[in-house]
């Protein structure tokens, strides 16, 4: 029986938000096969977009977000897989006096299913939910480790196999984000002062285009990704970001995975080219993968 490894990576694209990415490929874990992964991520930015103004901030210097995540993917059936991920996140600013934050962030669960096959074209869908694992501080941005919202996401993946193990793939997803209760009892949303601690975090969508080489468990690809909120306000002049902000990012990157046996490694790098209300981050994630059979 061929064990195929399902690979997962996380991309820390936003200023604080850790966004878990589902596998975008056509491979599935076979029934009762699991893949465990341990991933270290480092995301940092010196420049950011205050609304659309690109600037640096000597009172922050370089803002770094490090994460350590544990992930398990499991084959429920050959065509339906489940994934769970738990990240621990730590932030730090190289200058100024803002206190770094750390803690367990949001636990995520996804179900991924193959929806159709037509010759070389494959369609997949994933459903995901996430919820904060701890009552971490969300309003102390950009130091906060996450946005604190429960999320529900749906993703559609189209994958097309080319000759010589090459492929192209397109992905679109929509992320519904719940209200967040902050510690304070009022905040500005755009020009409106809301006299409540309940914050409507804008929903978001994400689109991705990938191309690369894949053969058995080994993979090499490049990608471009665009993340944007549906509505939201902008960072005010010379002010800190907030949960209501309409974050937008366009990034490019590369991903590679090598797994000769049950042990494997993966690496991902990405860089934000353009954005709004977001950091121009450089993201690096390296992972250690381990494939095993359950039962």
């Amino acid at each position: 029986m061929k064990h195929t490894l399902l690979c997962v990576f996380i991309s820390i694209l936003s200023m604080n938000t850790i966004m878990a990415q589902m596998p975008h490929d056509q491979i599935y874990m076979n029934k009762n096969i699991a893949c465990g992964a341990l991933m270290y991520g480092n995301s940092s930015w010196t420049n950011y977009w205050e609304n659309s103004l690109k600037r640096d901030n000597p009172n922050i210097g370089k803002l770094s977000t490090e994460s350590l995540s544990a992930m398990i993917a499991y084959g429920i059936t050959k065509k339906v897989n489940a994934l769970v991920m738990v990240p621990y996140v730590k932030t730090q600013a190289s200058q100024g006096n803002l206190m770094g934050q750390q803690g367990f962030q949001d636990v995520s669960l996804w179900l991924k299913a193959q929806v159709f096959n037509y010759k070389q074209l494959h369609g997949h869908a994933t459903l995901g939910i996430s919820t904060p694992m701890s009552n971490y501080v969300t309003e102390f941005m950009p130091m906060a480790i996450g946005i604190g919202a429960k999320t529900f996401s749906a993703r559609a993946i189209l994958h097309y196999n080319l000759p010589s193990n090459l492929f192209i793939s397109a992905t679109g997803s929509y992320i519904v984000r719940s209200q967040v209760t902050v510690d304070r009892d009022s905040y500005l949303n755009g020009e409106k002062l809301v006299n409540s601690g309940s914050v409507a975090v804008p929903n978001a969508f994400d689109a991705m285009f990938r191309m690369g080489y894949i053969k058995k468990e080994n993979q090499l690809e490049v990608f471009a990704e665009h993340f944007s909120c549906v509505g939201g306000d902008n960072i005010r002049r010379n002010s800190m970001p907030f949960l209501t902000n309409d974050m937008t990012m366009t990034a490019v990157g590369a991903y590679a995975k090598y797994q000769p046996k049950s042990l494997g490694v993966s690496a991902k790098v990405s860089y934000v080219l353009d954005g709004q209300n977001a950091g121009q981050s450089t993201n690096v994630t390296v992972g250690l993968l381990y494939l095993f059979k359950v039962k």
């Binding site: 519904v176 009892d185 907030f242």
Partner: protein, 511 residues
């Protein structure tokens, strides 16, 4: 078969997405008949007016006069039958009370304008320009002293104008349209308060004048709110046009007098950066080995170093100096070391609860600041107690003047000692560091003054307000930006300042 299940799941999931709207809604407040309409408010002592009739208004025509009957007819046959839903919503909004809503509007503007100027390419911080308020940096930078002052003048103008309005209401005793003509069905609960001049128009016009002076870039916004405030009374069938027009005239006249006082209170000279070198010299002569320095990069000039010279409301200059808190602990003393160690412990092991308290009371950039926070609690308490418009304005005027006095007293203290912040000893902060000297804590001073005044007005809530003040004070230690002594002494100072406002209130004839 299986694939249909997947189609179904996909369909379900997108339906869920489309149906999911996340909005943070706020409760709409229901209008009330005041617990007491305060018939005698026309004789209450005002802050700025020398007498309640210092600004005069014309006598109204009688309710049998054809001009008046035409106004009544217009309410009945033109306004009421053509009301739109949008107009009804505006009526419901203003039904919470004009004083309540204008206070809320002022807090919103405060939050919107609470951004420190950004450094320019030369590393300098441009000073906001009142004659070009919407340029970058916007004018004003609505920091805590600025907001304390804006809200003080707003509430004082509302109060004086309403005392005057009450005087005329009972002098002319013209009844409300709904009482004159039973065919008029007002949309808001009605009392027996005479309606000439309209209290809402008085408050609206006075508020408009003060807020336009404080937020000069907001002319169109304020104008639209003023129009709403006045029209809502016609749409609701609560006032006729001549009630409104007389209110506008009175509100404008009183606000102009309050602005004369505002322009002469010394605020124009509150940002005298040239005064800081003498302040530093004095600090060193008092024994401070380390004085306050800006921790921002590039270094930012301190916030309003001479705000302490601005004229106070409820006590004089000699009193301000007499009640100034004593010199704080200086580096090298055992007491200083103890305060330092408390902060080091928080730095290492800040609990989630401490962080929450620090965040709740932070009231930093982009918020209405601590004076705004206390005005909100005051306005809400007055609403719950079903205060009349004039009693609401009175309570907020004492609260507002106490907050401004607290700002002046605290800023005087801060620049008298020019003491260093904990961040000058390597500590971080979980809320952001204000750019002015440490001792005493502004939050503690504002909060104790606020709690003292509100406790006098709402004795049954005194323990709540006092615990709020204590928590607001503690929050600055939990956020690591103040020494414990800054907070305890600030609380004490603020309480004393609040007592002067309470004493003044006890002598204004309203109790």
């Amino acid at each position: 078969m299986k694939k249909y299940i997947y189609y179904f799941i996909t369909f379900l999931c997108f339906s869920f997405l489309l149906s999911c709207e996340n909005t943070a809604s706020e409760a709409l407040l229901s209008p009330y008949v005041p617990a007491n309409i305060d018939e005698n408010a026309g004789s209450w002592k005002t802050f700025v007016l020398s007498s309640p009739t210092e600004v005069s208004i014309a006598a109204p025509v009688g309710t049998n006069d054809p001009t008046y009957l035409k106004e009544i007819d217009s309410l009945k046959n033109i306004v009421a039958p053509n009301l739109t839903n949008e107009q009804r919503q505006i009526v419901a909004y203003w039904g919470a009370g004009a004083v309540f809503r204008w206070n809320e509007i002022a807090r919103e503007l405060s939050a919107r304008y609470n951004s420190a100027p950004a450094a320019n390419a030369e590393g300098k911080y441009p000073v906001p320009d009142a004659t070009n308020p919407l340029a970058d940096p916007k004018f004003p930078f609505a920091n805590p002293p600025y907001v304390s002052r804006a809200l003080a003048y707003l509430s004082v103008a509302q109060f004086d104008a309403l005392v005057s309005a009450w005087k005329y209401k009972y002098q002319y005793n013209r009844q409300a349209p709904g009482n004159v003509d039973k065919a008029i069905k007002p949309l808001l609960p009605m009392s027996n308060l005479p309606s000439y001049p309209s209290e809402d128009a008085v408050v609206g016009q006075a508020s408009y004048v003060i807020l336009l002076a404080m937020f000069p870039g907001e002319g169109p916004f304020l104008k639209s709110k003023l129009e709403e405030c006045k029209n809502a009374r016609l749409w609701a069938g609560m006032n006729v046009s001549s009630d409104i027009n007389a209110g506008v005239s009175l509100g404008a006249g009183v606000a102009a007098k309050v602005m004369v006082k505002a322009k002469a209170d010394g605020m124009g000279a509150a940002n005298n950066q040239a005064a800081t070198s003498d302040m530093i010299t004095r600090s060193k002569s008092l024994g401070f080995t380390k004085v306050w320095t800006s921790q921002e990069s590039p270094a930012r000039p301190p916030m309003l170093p001479t705000f302490g010279n601005v004229k106070t409301w409820n006590f004089d200059r000699a009193t301000l100096e007499a009640i100034r808190p004593a010199i704080p602990y200086i580096e090298g003393s055992a007491e200083f070391k103890k305060d330092y160690e408390e902060l080091v412990e928080v730095d290492k092991n800040q609990t989630r609860e401490q962080a929450a308290i620090a965040n709740f009371w932070a009231d930093g950039p982009g918020t209405y600041t601590p004076p705004g926070h206390w005005h909100r609690y005051g306005a809400n308490a007055g609403f719950e107690a079903k205060y009349s418009e004039v009693r609401m304005a009175r309570m907020l005027a004492y609260l507002g003047t106490a907050e401004m006095d607290a700002g002046i007293g605290c800023w005087d203290t801060k620049y008298y000692y020019y003491s260093p912040r904990p961040q000058q000893y390597g500590l971080k902060t979980s809320v952001g560091l204000p750019n002015f000297p440490s001792y005493t804590s502004g939050h503690s001073t504002f909060s104790a003054a606020g709690a003292e005044v509100l406790s006098a007005f709402f004795p049954q809530k005194a323990s709540t307000f006092n615990s709020y003040a204590q928590q607001a004070s503690d929050s600055r230690v939990y956020g690591l930006i103040h020494w414990r002594l800054d907070c305890t002494m600030g609380l004490k100072h603020g309480k004393t300042i609040g007592q002067y406002a309470v004493k003044r209130a006890s002598q204004d004839g309203a109790l």
